[in-house]
Symmetry: C2
């Protein structure tokens, strides 16, 4: 087996986030009329994206995308990462590419040409700091198997895939191709379930995939319950153990549970002065955990890094770290 | 004289800000090589904009532009405002237009067609929370006299102009046209000097303009000293008094001084838990002051509102309020 030069390569949607404050009334109205679900991610088409954007308050734009956020956090810890995901050849696409590359993350997916614009996620932050996401996938789901750079995948210890890619067939094929390349090179494959609605949309496929191809699984409490159709967490945890090498289940302010080889370890959440915006909490937990893991730390210490990264990101608006996470390693690692 | 329907109409550059953290070393290197000046605004061309952007860290995009920030703050207090400024017909232009309109600010300047993109301001925030701005003006200085909506200007109590418009001839002509329309309708004209380097570039023009056409002047300590070529603030204040009806001089953590009809009033700065980013401090001070003034408050109370708005904006990243400023009026107004 050849040497690895990257720690993690992430494969996922390349999105620009538009964050705006919103009231609970706003969410409720759009829930009734358009099926918007507080705290979850709803897929929207381009017309609805225009319409919803018009009704939103002033926005803060920044690069987003679940696994792209994770690899940004991973790089912020000092890890060497790569990213595979599709933007269009437009201004928002160039913003995304700039941000990824400025973190010294390897990235060479060619941009989409044609009329489909860069995907975006319209995020409404309510006064309780919860984020409600509305995603127009745009160019990001035009990612295809031919976009998966085999050399990049095989050079990484871990290939990290986001469940959201399952929402469109071409992107799902890219996802499967990446997993195949990684395993053929003897690397690990990690998956994040993304959200419980995504799990409900693809439950059977996810269970098959997890059984056969996933070494490391990231999920939150709702997602793991949805996956195994269990209403109680211990039952869901029992179901997952054995299906994967490592399962990481995040529980918001209750911290996280890591399962591996029949053992369980719980880590508490890190204290936060004020929760401003929960966008990116799960993504950054994965970033910290993967950094610890690829640096050879034990599971508990890796989870502690996850909790630290999650605490940083929920303390401000936006899905990626503002403080270099490497600075928060002191006294821990 | 007809009734006014707007409080303030702002005329200025329509820019999208790209905010990134940077080290002092980064600024020093670019100072030596490209004349970047810490804490000031440097004009850059499109090649330099591309080059500098490539060297910057990940960015946070949001609508900016000095007087556009002011009118956004004014609207956030609950004031009825208008804006005149030029974007291109591109994605960043649409972000700017969305943000202005979402605040219920009247805005109808037609976008520029052709190859010149929407202007942008690359802002580097150093660990001391200072912002160093690098502006590629793009479409914003293609604003011409024909873009000045006379009906909008004459319907506003105050027309607020930013000094930065003086940096290009066409935009300067638009500026003068707006001032002329306002005065012909018996309205007040306000000017912000923008920065001391801008004052140095246009000192004679500014002094002539202030003498003949400006009723309300906003400046910080450096700008007012640069305008009158005085090294001591009291001498500069003596020079301004009488030239305009009202002069508002901001002094960062020392608060502000308001001069009118030979009288001076000083207001302290509002306390701030942590200064995160000083971007927009002057713009928001003007927003609060103008809101007080157009609501009929006295000068001291108006300046207090300015201090409150400035304190809000320096407490977070970005040039516009995150908290609705109307909420901060309680117990003051």
């Amino acid at each position: 087996m050849s040497e690895t030069t990257l720690g993690v390569v992430a494969v996922g949607n390349a999105l620009v986030d538009v964050l705006a404050h919103a009231t609970d009334d706003f969410i409720e109205t759009h829930h009734a009329e358009h099926g918007m679900v507080k705290g979850a991610m709803t897929l929207i088409d381009s017309d609805r994206a225009v319409d919803l954007y018009m009704q939103m308050g002033p926005g803060l734009e920044s690069s987003g995308g679940s696994s792209a956020n994770t690899i940004a956090g991973y790089a912020s810890f000092g890890g060497k990462g790569g990213f595979i995901g599709k933007v269009a050849n437009d201004q928002l696409g160039r913003v995304f590419v700039h941000d990824i590359r400025s973190l010294l993350i390897e990235y060479d997916t060619p941009p989409l040409t044609g009329d489909i614009p860069t995907g975006r996620c319209l995020i409404l932050v309510t006064p309780d700091a919860q984020r409600t996401m509305n995603t127009y996938l745009g160019a990001s789901v035009e990612l295809g198997p031919e976009d998966v750079n085999r050399g990049m995948v095989t050079s990484a210890q871990v290939t990290y895939l986001e469940g959201y890619l399952f929402d469109k067939d071409r992107a799902k094929k890219a996802f499967e191709t990446a997993a195949q390349y990684a395993h053929e090179a003897g690397r690990k494959v990690a998956l994040t379930l993304s959200d419980s609605f995504c799990v409900n949309r693809h439950r059977d496929d996810f269970r098959k995939l997890i059984n056969s191809h996933i070494d490391i699984l990231f999920a939150n409490e709702d997602e793991i319950k949805a996956l195994y159709e269990q209403s109680e967490l211990p039952d869901a945890l029992k179901a997952i153990d054995g299906d994967v090498e490592i399962a990481v289940v995040t529980r918001s302010e209750k911290g996280a549970v890591v399962l591996s080889a029949g053992e369980q370890a719980a880590v508490p959440a890190e204290p936060v002065a004020e929760v401003v915006d929960t966008t990116g909490a799960g993504d950054q937990f994965a970033a910290g955990f993967l950094y610890g893991l690829t640096e050879g730390m034990d599971l508990e210490k890796s989870a502690k890094l996850g909790a630290i990264a999650a605490a940083e990101v929920i303390s401000h608006l936006g899905p990626r770290p503002e403080t270099p996470l490497a600075e928060l390693l002191e006294g821990v690692a």
